[in-house]
Structure formats: structure tokens, C-alpha cells
Symmetry: C2
Subunit: 310 residues, 2 copies
């Protein structure tokens, strides 16, 4: 029951109204692994340059993340610099240097080729497909993507989606991919391309799961203090897939629990810069916050409304 | 167990990507009454000009809305013309003519002065206060407001809030009123000004109730077809307060049920132009949609997560 995650391993300079960090651990694979490793063993595949402070990933290794798939290339690591304004909405990108990530061609180590769950982080859909070619078909194949690939690599992305079980994207990406403003219709269109399940993340507004059972909705956890939204979406994906590890099929009930754990890990992720909060998180906290989610959404109708409701 | 509602009675020209209507029934009091009357008797106070097609409010009268508090003034009725773009977000206002609404001074008829619940729709806070002065203290006093009064009549608004039990506003208004981006902090600040309960509406993203019990969250109902968002917030308030009518205190459980009914009526309201959908709605539909809300949000944790969760 291991989760194989492929994605970016980066260094981020992030500025929010509440502070700033330089050369912080970042990248989709790192945020994902910081969340998923709270639930299950993770195998991580990515690339770093000569400059990467690998020792700072030690907390992941201690939590059962196998870093043996991180390729060490000559050059600079992927670097992103961004700034969030007071509403902590979409950040302004001030600088992106792809470095060694620009020519990343994921090689899956022999020992990583039989994962239970595969998470294809947001990279070129051609490369996502090439990763899938290198492994035994996992029980669950999940992937992420972004506007850049939706616009520029649509055919490759659609070819990939036909091989994917769960697409995990945000609201805007779902609308752009389906060329449809209405989220229900967008989700139906995406499901028709392959993924039996579509998870649509809405940031602080929560997330939706669309599958044969219908729609499941989990809110965002209301937080007093949000320090840094960077990586929250990847933390959601990590918590979601982490909660599915070792659960087989998974059942409709397991998928709903996983959505809640996705929102739990996403809400933890933003409570500190970089992966600081997820590094400190404990299993017990996850369950406690999940129970708070239930208290926050549970309600009773009146007796007649429980039956025909007239 | 009657609900007294004071607000605007208007005619709207509305254009959305899905069609347009001219001289449609509109105004906060009308949208509110169309929703609240699905649950309880409503007394409506507002003003119309010579041009208002009062016969078209007949469906409200048939549903137990007492229109005896609508003042007939000489002049033109309040008119609003707006256009929504493809995402059905905030509309562009193309024209506003206040007409007789500009000099509206609500007079509460003798027979309306002992309501169980009072809803002070979005008008000048001085006038909202004057309405409150004219009635026996109702069990529940709820009010709405908007950016115009928050900016221009802050002192009067704060004086009013000290006399109000429930403030029902949207996200942006809550933030502006409290001068605080974080919604939890904004709600806490507002509650400290008077209202023991604050309802914050987030449009399609649902709504939050803040009270002594903590936070309750109800999602927006995912809809395939949204025709016209006009009045959805007032329909939410109508369903919410309607569901509280005749329930006494109300209990924490009744407040949660009311939030769900608010979201139910808000979601119905947008399925047709003007009050068309609420005019057709039946009690049975409300309960059925409320049960769908529960199916959409219910989840189970694993056994150990139900206890200490380790």
C-alpha cells in the first residue's frame, strides 16, 4: 500500500501579508508527500539541482517517504517567487526559473513500479503518460493539471485522461478543460473523457467529488489564521489519496472520508509557510479536525421532512 | 407566528446569458416574501408607484402574504436594470431609478405590529431602526444591509446592530463592515456589536452561521441550470427566517435546519427569472432538496477516528 508521487521539487520565495520566507521547501511533489505521508508510505519521484537542501526533506524520510526517486541533476533547482495580497487569493508570480525541472524526464526506479496509488502531479501530460507506461497499472491513478497544459497540450492531456481514474483539479481548471462554466456539466464532460471520479477544489470554499454516487461536498475549514496558501491544493490531493491507501476499491464511504481528509490536510497546510505545519501535524489532529468538519455540517430535519416532506 | 418584512418592491429588467425579462417582479421584500411564505404567514411593508402591476403579486396573497402594508404613492416604482455575464457573478447595474422608493418612510399598519419575526430588508439603517420602534419587540429581529450603508451610514448601522438578533449579509459586506478580511474574525467582531447570530452568505459557495454553538456550514446546491441570480440572497433570508417561524427560541438544531432551508430556497430562486421558480415551488420540494443536501454532506470516519483518532 504505497503511493507513488511524481511532480516538482522546488524552492520558493513566498511573501504574504503575514510574512515572507526564502528558499522554502516547495513544489507539488513535496507538498503532496508532506500530506500523504501522514496516512501511508510514499515514494517520491522528482528532480533537484546541485543547490537543493536535501537534508531539509529529512522529516519526510522519517515519516516513510522514500526519496530514492529524486534525481540529482547538474544545475539549479526549480525556483518560484510569488506574492499574495491581503485576500490570500491567487498569487502574483514574480519569478519562475525552471532550472533542471525544465528538462525533467521522470525515471521510475525499479522498486517504485508497483504502487497501489499513483499521483501524477502537475507536469507535461506527455510525461505523465510516460510515467504511467513505466509502472504496473496501479489500483488508482490520479492526476492534476493546469491551465498551461489545458491550453497548450490539450490532445496529450485528453489521451492521458482516458487512462486516469481520478482527476483532481481546481474550479477554474475544470471549467477551462470542459469549456463549460457550469461545474456540474464540466464534471460530467470530464468524466466522459475517462476519469470515473472528478475532484474539484474550490480553495477556501471546499471541494466537490463527482462520481456514480452523485455529488459529495466538503467545506473548507474556517481558519482564523492563514499564513500561506502555497501548496494547499497539493496537500488536499495528498490527504485525499493518502486516506484511500490500503482501502481497496475504494468504497463510496471511503471516498467521502478521503475528501474530508483532503480538506483537513489542505486546511493544515495553509497555517504556516511552506510545509511547516504539515511537518508538525499528527494523525490525532487529523481525526479531531475531521470530527469538527462533521459538527460543522450535520443537521436534522423535522420528522415530516424526513419522509415525504409535504 | 407571522413574519413582518420591510424592504423594496421593484420592477427589474434583467439580462443573463440565458435570456432577459422586462418589468419583472423584484425588490428585496418581494424575493424575501416569495421564499418565506413557503413556510409561514408574511406581512409585507413597502411602497409602489402608480405603475406597479399589483395583480401579479396575487400568488403571494394566495400563499398567505398580507399585502396590506404596501403603500401606494404617486410616481414611478423602484426600477432596476442589470446584466449578468456568463459566470453569473455580480451583475452590472445599467440603470437604477429609485422613484417613490427614494422617499419611502415605512409605516407599520396596526395589524402588523406584533410579528414573531421581523426582517429588516436592505434599506437606510435609520429607517430600519424606525421600523423597529413601531413594533412590539419581536422574538427575532433580523436585518440585511449593503456596502452603500456600511460606507455612508456607519454610525446608524452600528446603532441598529445593537438592537438586532441576526445579521444576514454576504461575504463582502461582512468583511467591509468589520474591516477584516478573515471571515471568522469578521463574524466575531460583528457579534460583539450586538447580533448573537451572524449569517454570512457566499452565493454559490453556500453560507455560514456563527453563534454560541460555533460554526455551521451549508453548501450552495449544485445546479445544472442557473437562469437569474437576482434576489437569491433575499430568498435565502426568506427561507431561513421562514423555517424559524413558530419554532420559539430557536434551538441550535432549528437554526441549522433553517440554514439548510435558506440554501434550499436560494437554490430554487435562481432556477428561473424573477420569482418564477419560488412561485411554483411546493413544500414537498423543499424537504426533498434538504434531504439531498444531507446526502451531499454526510460522511463516516473510521472507527478509531471517531474516538481519539490516533
Amino acid at each position: 500500500m504505497t503511493i507513488l508521487a511524481v511532480g516538482s521539487v522546488a524552492l520558493d520565495d513566498v511573501e504574504t501579508p503575514f510574512g515572507r520566507v526564502e528558499d522554502a521547501l516547495g513544489g507539488s511533489a513535496v507538498h503532496f508527500a508532506a500530506a500523504a505521508s501522514l496516512f501511508a508510505p510514499v515514494q517520491l519521484v522528482g528532480v533537484v539541482g546541485d543547490d537543493y537542501p536535501l537534508d531539509r526533506l529529512g522529516f519526510l524520510a522519517q515519516r516513510g517517504v522514500d526519496l530514492g526517486g529524486i534525481e540529482h541533476a547538474t544545475g539549479e533547482s526549480f525556483f518560484w517567487r510569488g506574492r499574495y495580497s491581503h485576500d490570500l487569493g491567487a498569487p502574483e508570480t514574480l519569478e519562475t526559473r525552471l532550472g533542471v525541472f525544465g528538462s525533467f524526464r521522470p525515471q521510475i526506479p525499479e522498486a517504485f513500479r508497483s504502487p497501489e496509488i499513483l499521483f501524477l502531479g502537475n507536469i507535461d501530460p506527455e510525461l505523465q503518460g510516460a510515467v504511467l507506461d513505466q509502472v504496473e497499472r496501479p489500483g488508482i491513478v490520479a492526476c492534476d493539471t493546469m491551465n498551461y497544459w489545458i491550453e497548450g497540450s490539450r490532445a496529450a492531456l485528453l489521451a492521458l485522461l482516458a487512462r486516469v481514474d481520478i482527476l483532481i483539479v481546481n474550479e477554474g481548471e475544470a471549467r477551462q478543460l470542459a469549456e463549460e462554466v457550469n461545474l456540474l456539466k464540466a464534471a460530467r464532460w470530464i468524466r466522459a473523457q475517462g476519469p470515473a471520479r472528478v475532484v474539484i477544489k474550490k480553495g477556501e470554499h471546499g471541494a466537490l467529488l463527482f462520481d456514480d454516487e452523485g455529488i459529495f461536498f466538503v467545506p473548507g475549514f474556517p481558519l482564523e489564521e492563514v499564513f500561506d496558501p502555497t501548496g494547499a491544493g497539493d496537500a488536499f490531493a495528498g490527504g485525499f489519496l493518502g486516506a484511500l491507501a490500503g482501502r481497496g476499491g475504494p468504497s463510496a464511504s471511503q471516498l467521502r472520508r478521503a475528501m474530508v481528509m483532503g480538506s483537513v490536510t489542505g486546511s493544515l497546510a495553509v497555517e504556516d509557510f511552506s510545509v511547516g505545519r504539515l511537518a508538525r501535524a499528527e494523525r490525532r489532529e487529523l481525526a479531531s479536525r475531521a470530527r469538527e468538519f462533521r459538527r460543522m455540517t450535520q443537521f436534522e430535519l423535522e420528522e415530516r421532512e424526513e419522509t415525504d416532506g409535504g
